[in-house]
């Protein structure tokens, strides 16, 4: 089991915002969950797609001070409009507080695929 990396939050700052960007002009769907410290009791924070006109940024409805040790999960599906053996996907998820990127607050993933690629990432919050 891969270790879960941390996002460092400052308790005195505002609620974190999360921005999702699928690169290479591919179609992306996503959803985020917030888990407790033990990885139980998931609650959906947001879901969406980059194929609509809704901005792919959301603000977490939880104060930074209460997020310590809790786990953020990202689940995504990237699709190429045209299936090709040499398609490349890239994903960037950025967590900010008060407009500033948090330490460890960037999730990046890239690789090859043909038509569809399922993505998954976890981060654990640490509040200082």
């Amino acid at each position: 089991m891969s270790p879960i990396e941390e996002i460092v939050l400052e308790a005195a700052k505002g609620q974190p915002t999360v921005e999702i960007m699928f690169g290479q002009a591919h179609i992306g769907n996503y959803r985020f969950f917030l888990w407790d410290e033990a990885g139980q009791n998931a609650r959906e924070l947001a879901q969406g797609t980059n194929a609509d006109e809704v901005v792919d940024t959301f603000q977490m409805d939880v104060a930074a001070a209460t997020l310590n040790r809790r786990i953020l999960s990202f689940e995504g599906l990237v699709q190429a409009a045209e299936a090709r053996a040499d398609n490349v996907y890239s994903l960037t998820v950025t967590v900010r507080q008060d407009g500033v990127v948090c330490q460890g607050g960037v999730i990046q993933d890239t690789g090859g695929f043909v038509d569809v690629k399922a993505l998954l990432a976890f981060k654990r919050f640490r509040t200082t």
Binding site: M21, Q24, G39, I71, A81, V88, T110, L119, L120, F122
Partner: protein, 369 residues
């Protein structure tokens, strides 16, 4: 014999086929009907085509670092060109791809789409015999000037794919953080397969909409030859150029769903080819081929008529020009397997200066790549 399969709207390729029932040539003629086909489509990798290569393994770097490494592997420490190097890349997507979102591609300036579709290929090949140390190089460029069949610009397809993916995600339980890596991989693979199945009707419907959309593609591939196989002895050895323009009769009732008109131009300078007038000899010549092709049908059945003009500029000034008229039928049998039937007639001057007519019938089947 080979039979040509054509991928709408503009891409054609050749696949092996059973021997054709060619009519014998006129007695005095040394011409042969080039299998009734002249592949004029802009190749996916112009550098490979310019050298006549169909490499089994093509390096398609996904990062700039990989691209640099691939090029470096093309030359050894002694400066000798490594043969069999085949690299195919989209430079702009390599550099800026992570920041090119679907929205910026679709609604941004035209330049974004133009650069995103720009492809570069690089290839090297060894000389003819065991005692021939020469090496050939080609650098290919491929541009899509415009493409009304660009799937990323198809809002119906994009919405359909996003909708189906959303359904798959919503129907799935969230994956727990402490699931084993094997369990996570299994769950992700299941999502991919469900999405693939759900998206299939979206893709099939889009293929029907797009098969004959208008587009314009161009490619060029300068070549160099090194007699002794070293980088210090490279000489320019001609350029190949291609362009294809397809017109899909957009907004013309009936025709916009069932017809396409395509124009082709292909040229090559300093090409070394078998001499059509002297068996066993080779000649270095420039040539230009122009063609027009009308396709009628749909995404799974197509009838086509093609007229080509081939002009070979020989160094001895001898006339070597001819017309080629062909008709064909293509039928999708199952998934990506197509049956191709074609008949071509060639009108050309023979060695005695008289016009001759040669015909050939070809058939074959295979995938469209």
């Amino acid at each position: 014999m080979r039979a040509r399969l054509c991928i709408p709207p503009l891409l054609c390729l050749c696949v092996d086929a059973v021997p054709a029932l060619a009519q014998p040539a006129q007695a005095a003629s040394t011409f042969t009907l080039r299998d009734g086909t002249v592949d004029l489509a802009v190749p996916e990798s112009p550098a490979f085509s310019a050298l006549g290569l169909t490499p089994e393994q093509v390096s398609r770097p996904t990062t700039v670092r990989e691209l640099a490494t691939s090029f470096l592997n093309g030359i050894d420490r002694a400066g000798h060109l490594q043969t069999g190097v085949a690299i195919d890349a989209a430079p702009y997507m390599l550099l800026a791809g992570p920041k090119i979102t679907l929205e910026s591609y679709r609604t941004g300036p035209y330049l974004t789409r133009f650069l995103a579709r720009w492809q570069v290929s690089f290839a090297s090949a060894k000389g003819g015999g065991a005692d021939d140390p020469s090496a050939k190089l080609a650098l290919g460029l491929r541009f899509t000037v415009f493409d009304r069949g660009d799937p990323r610009m198809d809002p119906v397809l994009v919405d359909c794919l996003a909708r189906e993916a959303g359904r798959v995600l919503n129907a799935s339980d969230p994956i727990p953080p402490f699931a084993s890596d094997e369990e996570k991989a299994t769950l992700l693979a299941q999502r991919e397969e469900r999405t693939r199945v759900a998206a299939k009707p979206c893709r099939e419907a889009a293929a029907k909409r797009r098969w004959n959309r208008s587009g314009w593609i161009a490619g060029a591939a300068p070549t160099w030859t090194s007699a002794d196989g070293t980088t210090a002895d490279i000489d320019y050895s001609g350029t190949a150029v291609w362009t294809s323009i397809g017109y899909g009769f957009e907004r013309v009732p009936v025709l916009e769903d069932h017809a396409m008109l395509a124009f082709y131009l292909k040229g090559r300078t300093r090409e070394i080819v078998p001499d059509a007038f002297n068996d066993g000899a080779f000649v270095t010549q420039d040539n230009v081929t122009t063609g027009v092709r009308f396709v009628a049908g749909g995404s799974s059945s197509q009838f086509n008529v093609e007229l080509l003009r081939l002009d070979n500029d020989r160094p001895d000034g001898r006339e070597d020009r001819y017309w080629n008229l062909g008709i064909g039928l293509e039928q999708r049998l199952i998934d990506n397997t197509w049956l191709n039937l074609s008949f071509g007639r060639q009108l050309a001057r023979d060695t005695s200066g008289q016009f001759s007519v040669i015909g050939a019938f070809n058939w074959g089947f295979g995938p469209r790549k």
